[in-house]
Structures are given as structure tokens and as C-alpha cells.
Point group: C2
């Protein structure tokens, strides 16, 4: 295993130490593993908290800041954060208007966020939980009952974050988050497996000429293995797979995320984006907004995922609202 | 070779097609391979043009936009762009105030930009050329006489871009670019080799437990090979190597770039950043501004580079000026 770490045991603490040093606009509680905005809101607002296993950076810490999350709770690599950590985050950032927990659908995350929600309610904090489950690849998987939560998390956190920033009420913020998740579908293809530091070797064996179609962000198995094909064929299959599960029709607009899984050069992601855009155009679907880059990664895994969120005027307007995080910034 | 491409022959055209589709705020001339701002300046300003081989994305196309470059010329992967291409870029973006060409020090780039400068002068366009040669690893290398140009390109393009945006004169913009280059030093360590699509295999062989110390962004050999060590030891060596070549002293401030070479997860880059910051603090040097992420890559190479630019009030003020490109944005 070749990694820029001090030891597998300290990788999360060491990364948080570096993150804190690099971003003084964020308050990083290293012992409790909570990343929050350093500046509290001037008036009460709904607080958005997310979290999950580390190794998917910039998700979630990279999305903490004005216009998006209030706090993030990173677990160990590919391991759920714990309820106490989430409770600490809720205590740190709630300002009387309630808390929305954004949870990717993995069994450990769901269970721990549920416990955290109960603890927060006991402390008088009103809580809504929104589950993200956008991956159409498989119905159940290694760590999931139901569909996995992947790329749509970016859209949910951005759009719900924008609405919270405007002072919307708790149920409104939770409702738009649920609406974005329901309007989103994702599908991923891996060219290589990720290596978890504590494991020291790739999470699965993939022959030199094979790809994993429908892979999960922890390397969970997808639908099948097959030979590597040209980017235009892979992009077309991914688009078609998503459309087969989505209510998109000619004339619709989408927000599209062509997401690198960590080890794929940006040059290749733009090749994929061009093919995705062309395939959608053939179907009469227009990409109204896009992101191309590494947003929801799987450590050093090569490959990509596509997320399509059906857009309407309200969602686009919230998408366009200013955001200032380390991974997503516009004004 | 596992890559998300249609073919090695079309990878640049296909990536430019995707880039153009993703970023309508940029004018992408695919046949001539020029990426420029779609909106021309309202009054004459010095135009900044850079370019070089592809495979280092987001460099340079990702740095085109208000506050940074006016145009970028991408060559084939790890291959210099050609003089006609650079001339087309100069013709497209010059507005009467002259053009600064920012050239990384590689023999092909230097020769082709020199020819382009002569062609532009023949057309009545005033030109200054600024060479970037910040890599302290080796004096000469596979494709270079003198030091290689690497991470400092980001600082040069950002700071000179800010000054050009304010309406400074041609010689002033060229002078600040040269000053930033002179104030910058870089050093890189590779954990793996990059695979160029047309080659189909890694550019060099690196045993499973070895690293290349002082590697170039095309995989050019560095100073030596050695066993992989913990991140704190590698970061300390990189810092010390740069300081041995730099006039930095206790009390100085720097702009620091901890740059991923393409295949290294962000989690690891933050581990490295923490160690770099600590080592510099021991020497009494403060990081005034930082970037942590993939900015000057070598396709899928795992590893990192560190660039330190000695900062003063003028350079920091220009660094902080607004920028709106696909890879670097703040307001």
C-alpha cells in the first residue's frame, strides 16, 4: 500500500489537523470530530448537519460553509460516525430553528443518526432526518438495505442549504431536501478498487481489462463485471440506466454531476461529460447546470459516477444561490 | 491501460468537447485548441496566455476567466502546443494593451512560445514572455534545460492575472509575474507513475515499496528512489529541500500549495498539509494563504508537490483579489 499517511490509526486525526490549519474559517473540533462554521448565524436558522465515513472527500467537510452545511461529522475511513459525535455537532450549531440531518442510506449511518436524533430531541432540539438513496445500481448491498446514497448528496446539501440560509422553516428545509433526493438518480462505474489504509490492499480484485458496473462508493459490488469499453459506450449505458429509472422526458432539464471517484484525471471526466451531454441531448434532455470533478470519491478508486437531478425553476434558483465552502464556491 | 477515453488519438478533442459543453462562460475553439473567455474586456487590458501539454488539468484551461488567464492553449498529452495555436489565442484575446505569455520551462514549450511571440510581434501585438522554473529537484531534466516549471504556475497566473485585471501596463504585469516566479520554489514526490493514453503503460517502473523523490510532472526522474516513509518524514524533507534553496527566514510569510499529482485522495493531501504547516512553523515561517488539492497534475500519478511563494503585502493583496475560473474561484 502506497499512501501519504503517518499510520492507518491516525489518518483521520492527521487529516483533520491539516484541514483545521488550512481553513481558519471553519471550526474543527478534532477530539470530537466535528467540522462546523466558525461564524455563527446572526439570527436563528435551520442547521444542516451531514456526515458519514471518511474517504469520500470533499464530501462532507468540504461542503461546510455559508449556503450549504452547518456541520459535518466524519467517521473513520468507510465507517459511520457515532451518535455522540453527531449530538456534539447538533449542540454546536443549532440556533433554535431545528436541525436537519442529511444521511446517506447505509445501515450504520442510518442507525447512528437515528440514535443521535433521539439524543438531540431529549435535549430539546427539534430534528428532521432526510435519507439520501439515489443509486439505482442495486436494491440492497453490502452495507445497505434499499438503495445506496451517493452523488445526490451534493445536490441535497446545496439546495437545502440555500433554503435554510434564507430563513425557511424546519419542515420546509426537510421537504426540499427530500424533494431533491426523490428527483435524483445516480450510477457509477469503477475501473479500479480503492485501498482502505487499515486494510492495506485493494477492496476487491478487478482484472486489468475489467470494470465493475454499478459499483458503490465503498467498492460494494454492482450489477456485473465486464470488459472495459470506450467512454462513449460507458456514458451512454450510464445515462440509459438512469433514464430507465427516472421520470425524465424530452424537454426536461437536469442538474448533472459527472463525479470522479478519486483516481481518474479531470481530462477523462470531461471526455465523459461530453458523451453524457450528447446522449441526453439525443433524448431531448438539457443539462441546465453541471459539476465536473471529484465531489463524492472513494479514496483512490478510478472511475466515475453520474447523478441527474430533475430540475425546475425553484431548484435551479436555489442551486444558483451563493455558496462558500472549500469544495463548492460561487456568488 | 484503464482509461475513460474513446481513443488515445481523440482524447484531447473529446475532452475539449466536454469542457466546452460544461462551461458556456468560456469560448472553446476546438479545431484550433484555444480556450478563452467568452466575454471580452470592456476596455483594453493586458492579455495573459498560458499553455502546455495536456494531462496537468486543471492547469491551464481551468484557470481561464476573470482575474486570471485570458486564454489557454492545450497541447496533446505531455506535448507542447504549437506556435500557430498560440498565435490564434493571442489574436483572439489581445485588446491593444499587449500580451504576456506564461511559459513553463520545458524545451518544446519554450521554443514554440518563442516562435509564437515572433509571429505575434509581426502582427503588431506587443509581447512579453515570462518563464516559470520553480522546481528545485534537478537543474536539467528529460525535457528541460534548467529548472522545470511546475506548481508556481498557479501563483504566477493568479497574481499577474489580478494585476492585469486592474489595468496595469504590460511591463508591470510581466514584472510581477517574474517576481512571483523568483519568489517560488517547488518539490514533488511520486508514489506511482502516470500512464499516458498513447503510451498505454506507466511512464516508469516504480517498485511497490519505492517512491521517486523530486519527480517531474511528466514523470521525469528526480533525485533518487527510496523506500516509502510516513507522511511527516516526507513533508519535512520536502520543506527542508525547498528552504535550502529559498531565502525564507523566520518571520516570513508564504503562500503554500499542497498539490495532488492526480491519483492521491484529498484526505492524504490534508495529512501532508498539516505536516508541512507544522514543519514551517518550527522554522518560524507562517503560511498566510494556502491551496490544498489537485491543481497541477500528472494524469493519474499518486503523490504530491509543495510550492512555497514568499509573500509580501502586495502579492497577498493580488492573491486575494477576486477570481472566477473553473478551478479557482473566490470573491
Amino acid at each position: 500500500m502506497k499512501k501519504l499517511i503517518n499510520s492507518p490509526e491516525t489518518v483521520l486525526t492527521d487529516a483533520l489537523t491539516g484541514f483545521a490549519a488550512a481553513h481558519p474559517e471553519l471550526a474543527v473540533d478534532i477530539p470530537n470530530r466535528v467540522i462546523a462554521r466558525a461564524v455563527r448565524p446572526e439570527r436563528p436558522k435551520v442547521a444542516l448537519i451531514s456526515g458519514g465515513g471518511s474517504g469520500h472527500e470533499p464530501l462532507h467537510a468540504g461542503f461546510v460553509g455559508p449556503g450549504m452545511l452547518d456541520a459535518a461529522c466524519p467517521g473513520e475511513v468507510f465507517t459511520s460516525p457515532v451518535p455522540d459525535q453527531m449530538l456534539t455537532a447538533a449542540q454546536a450549531v443549532h440556533s433554535g430553528a431545528g436541525v436537519v440531518l442529511i444521511v446517506k442510506n447505509y445501515t450504520g449511518d442510518v442507525m447512528n443518526f437515528q440514535l443521535a436524533a433521539e439524543l438531540a430531541v431529549e435535549e430539546g432540539i427539534e430534528v428532521r432526518t432526510v435519507l439520501v438513496n439515489d443509486d439505482v445500481a442495486v436494491e440492497d448491498s453490502t452495507w445497505t438495505a434499499g438503495r445506496r446514497g451517493t452523488g445526490a448528496t451534493v445536490m441535497v446539501e446545496k439546495i437545502a442549504g440555500a433554503l435554510a440560509e434564507r430563513g425557511a422553516a424546519l419542515d420546509e428545509v426537510a421537504a426540499v431536501a427530500q424533494r431533491v433526493n426523490a428527483a435524483s438518480r445516480s450510477f457509477a462505474i469503477a475501473l479500479t478498487a480503492a485501498t482502505v489504509p487499515a486494510a492495506g490492499k485493494p477492496g476487491f480484485d478487478l482484472p486489468e481489462d475489467e470494470i465493475e458496473v454499478g459499483v458503490g462508493i465503498h467498492g460494494e459490488p454492482g450489477r456485473r463485471r465486464e470488459r472495459l469499453r470506450p467512454a462513449n459506450e460507458l456514458a451512454a449505458e450510464v445515462v440509459d440506466t438512469i433514464l430507465a429509472d427516472h421520470d425524465l422526458a424530452a424537454g426536461d432539464e437536469v442538474i448533472a454531476l459527472v463525479n470522479g471517484l478519486g483516481g481518474t484525471p479531470l481530462l477523462e471526466l470531461y471526455v465523459v461529460y461530453g458523451e453524457v451531454q450528447a446522449r441526453l441531448a439525443e433524448r431531448g434532455i438539457r443539462i441546465a447546470r453541471n459539476l465536473v470533478g471529484n465531489y463524492v470519491t472513494s479514496l483512490d478508486m478510478a472511475g466515475f459516477s453520474l447523478t441527474l437531478t430533475k430540475a425546475d425553476a425553484e431548484l435551479l434558483e436555489l442551486w444558483d444561490a451563493p455558496v462558500a465552502t472549500t469544495a463548492l464556491t460561487w456568488s
